[in-house]
């Protein structure tokens, strides 16, 4: 890996747990590399698959989904999120995009060590696998959108027509 490569890491941090958790890291004056950018989210369950792929296509090298885990304030949201990320990981794997670029974890409001560990781990992965293949990510994003649209068209057909199609 060329030494000039400095990856960009995006952290999607839940408003109730991981975002205050990241604040706690700063309050404790614990340091982590400044290539980490944290966005506050009510729950990452709101993101469609193509959001992640789009981010990769824009040059984000890795995404840490820092959720609330079992402390999730929304009923069933964490389970849905986990299933969605599983599916995304499968798609990335099938499409040839390194799955190390995406991580789902639970970070609590005082989980300083866990936060630092996750960041260190992602940077370690990235120093090994290098920059994201933006063109490949863009291709996967287009496919993902088409899939979303395709389902849409299937659903829109009458059940008879769908029977013929399937």
């Amino acid at each position: 890996m060329s030494e000039s490569f400095v990856p960009k890491i995006l952290v999607l941090a839940t408003e109730k747990c991981a975002y205050p958790g990241a604040d706690a890291v700063g309050k404790a004056h614990q340091e982590y590399p400044s290539n980490v950018h944290i966005l506050r989210v009510p729950s990452p369950v709101l993101f469609p698959e193509d959001f992640y792929l789009r981010s990769f296509s824009k040059g984000i090298d890795a995404i840490l989904i820092a959720a609330c885990g079992s402390d999730c304030p929304y009923h069933g949201a964490y389970e849905k999120l986990a299933a969605r990320i599983d599916q995304l990981t499968d798609r990335m794997k099938a499409g040839g995009l390194e799955t190390e670029r995406i991580r789902l974890t639970a970070i609590c409001t005082v989980c300083i060590k866990a936060f630092l560990k996750e960041i260190a781990l992602l940077n370690e992965h990235l120093s090994r696998i290098g920059p994201v293949d933006r063109a490949l990510a863009e291709q996967l994003r287009t496919e993902s959108l088409a899939r979303l649209q395709g389902t849409d068209q299937l659903e829109a057909l009458s059940s008879d027509a769908r029977g013929i199609l399937v």
Binding site: V6, P33, P42, I60, A77, E155
Partner: protein, 653 residues
Amino acid sequence: MSTQNEFREEPGCEVEQNDPARIEAQIAAGQRAAVAPNSSTYGSDDAALKIGVYICRCGGNISDVVDVEQVAETVKLIPGVATAKVHTFVCSDPGQHTISDDILKENLDRVVVASCSPFLHEQTFRGAVARGGLNPYLYEHVNIREQASWAHKHDPAGATSKAIRMIAAAIGKLRHAVPLEQIKLPNHRRALVIGGGIAGLKAASDLAARGIQVLLVEKAGELGGHLNERGRVYPSEQDAAKLVAELAQRVNRDARIEVRLSSQIKAVSGFIGNFKVQVESEGALPSEVTAGAIIVATGFRCYQPQENEFLYRTDPCVLTLPEFIQLMRSTPDSARHLTVNGRAVNNIAFLHCVGSRQLDGVHEPQADGRLNTYCSRTCCTTILQQALAVRRRFNKTGVYSFYQDIRTYGRGEENYYIEASKAGVVFFRYNGEEPPKAEATPREHARRGALSITVKDTLTWNEELTVPVDLLVLGTGMIPGDIADLIEQMKLATGEDGFLQEVHPKLRPVEVAVNGVLLAGTAQGPMNIQETLSAAGAAAAKAAAMFAKEEVELNPFVAEVDQDACCGEAQCVTQCVYEGALRLVTREVNGELVERAEVNAGLCVGCGACVAVCPQRAIQLNGWRLDQFDAMVDGIAEGVPGQNCAQELVQIG
């Protein structure tokens, strides 16, 4: 605040709202967005935006690491940024005035403040923005203290470029922002108080005094709760039963309070201002009541020692603290000593911390696997009060206290310790890891006492001492009430100790995460009567404050359906678990009946589970739209093009 409603329309948006051409264009735009959400479709008219960026030094907390002047100079180059200013404390009055003055003078229509965590000052700056006459949701907060200067102290260049990128991201988000209004819902001016102990009675009586209708639901057949069975309350030494009876009488006589005894809550739905509650009373059919606020005053349970814990239930000479208080109350004034199991009590041992401050590996967990690691807070003073009472009533009776720490923390409570010491109560101190042992005395020595208590006394340098006594009183404390159903129905949060949890002990006491629900008293943890009354008073005051308005105002961060883009496929509806929050409705569009998704803003919690599945991107979370997130990612990925805020500056540590 009326200026909020008169938000300046951007040029090009002056077309009649229901112009068919515009609607068609919107539908087309919506579909395009669905195919290629990469290209944003509205709100990105850079030339029309006037953005104000305010960067805080935080008195050096930020500026010692982040080069705030460079940040200001760089972000000025972002299209649309009309002004970028550095201030030592943006949160100060002059700092806030700068924002509101600039909005008025320079016609700013978006504001960014880069300072501390949004949890500290997001609301502050929303207020400043609103005072300038701008919609408070056209504001973005950037955290460059907790998440930049403090976290990258040894990387000032990296922290500076990160600050620039995060501000670029916020500006991107604001380009897609629309003015939002708080959600206003009708407010039913009636409170439901669950629990008729001293906390519930106090809350109900305080609410009624403010002219609010109250429904008080108590599961037992009488009001008063635990206090009906207590002796005298410390530190005032009033009769507990009398005290609570007076309060109950006040409640019963108040026409504004309806009391339902032997009643339970069966179901709770709805939201602040509009809760629907099923109440079932003994021998009656369940009825539904509407309440604007709910006060949970369900109290505590007394810790019951486990089978054979300190010989409890094995030996009749072992009593819990509440049982001992009953014994004291039922012993006639003329008696010269207490009598237990037919024998005179010459010596009593009080053992502190039974069922409280439990340690892993020392104590047996409860049936649910939990250890009561907390201090029950009221038992020390109660024990000392009782010990002193014994010494004063029966001066021949020896009293021994076995304690870990004496926690007589409240006003006037330390006097019980001082007086008990003066009155001849003998103290032994044990280490929590080696609690005293209780044994039945062999029959041949029974004259000296029915039980012997052995303790490693740290006051005498761990000397092992054995004290023969006729009665052992276990200083049992409080455990959470049996309210699993209520917790589930109302989606309440509990702490590790099993008691209900408030949102924040200092910033939002007695409030829970569910708006409109408040906690009063020991439902939230061990408290003495004074603290219980304070909490109940606070809950009543907060409920009354909610009722001061005709309408309830909620944050606007809920899902909203773009009715023009929605195709009625209802994929979103299948994702929603909150009953009634998102459903399909039939409407007429161009003479045709079609199905469209519709959000009930009062029931939507804003989780966003529905957003990800819509092929049309027709359902979005207000304030957290997907195009806003895309724009933020772009800001982070690109920074300010051509400027020295590229990632190359960053060194990985």
